[in-house]
């Protein structure tokens, strides 16, 4: 069975600080991995995705994520956060079947001025 774990329900950082949001997955093969962002009262927007190749993948708005097969992780990073990055971030995985996504429980990011 597959699963996604986001161990931090809430993260608070200061504006301009660096950020890492953690994601661990469980799946017997290499999954497709995604990070989505959800702003208040909105749907989910794709930040970035990964399947193979360079383990560091670039996304929108200067976000990047690093895949580690040995650690079964796909952590999201940003060098310098802005107040507008405050949102809920979801890590998700998909196997090869029809893009069904399995989500973690999400991490609520608050960026303080």
């Amino acid at each position: 069975a597959q699963s996604v774990t986001q161990p931090d329900a809430r993260v608070t950082v200061s504006e301009g600080a660096s950020l890492q949001l953690r994601c661990k997955y469980s799946y017997s093969a290499t999954p497709y991995l995604f990070w989505y962002v959800q702003y208040p009262r909105q749907g989910l927007q794709l930040l970035l995705k990964y399947y193979s190749g360079d383990p560091v993948v670039q996304g929108v708005n200067s976000f990047e994520a690093e895949f580690s097969k040995s650690n079964s992780s796909f952590h999201l990073q940003k060098a310098s956060v802005h107040w507008s990055d405050s949102a809920v971030y979801f890590c998700a995985l998909s196997m090869s079947n029809y893009n069904v996504l399995y989500f973690g429980s999400g991490t609520k990011l608050t960026v303080e001025p």
Partner: protein, 114 residues
Amino acid sequence: EAAVTQSPRNKVAVTGGKVTLSCNQTNNHNNMYWYRQDTGHGLRLIHYSYGAGSTEKGDIPDGYKASRPSQENFSLILELATPSQTSVYFCASGDQAGINQAPLFGEGTRLSVL
């Protein structure tokens, strides 16, 4: 522009009543999905579809039915709504698994069952 549109955006229903949530996509995607979002659970898959006429059960299908009458439309039906079905529901559309495809999500429907 690719889009997934859900209606209604907000719904208040009574216990035991029938509720239909609608989703329309203009992306020509084969696959569509219904998820519900609850605090602490992330998004959980209720039903999905490979194309017109097909529906498949997801991880939490009990109490829900789905209907895919056309490529563009996918409905979620609560025949006998219960307070435990109070949640935010998201529809998404996507195509065959592949790195160039990632499901697109609608804005969500906020359902309260009283």
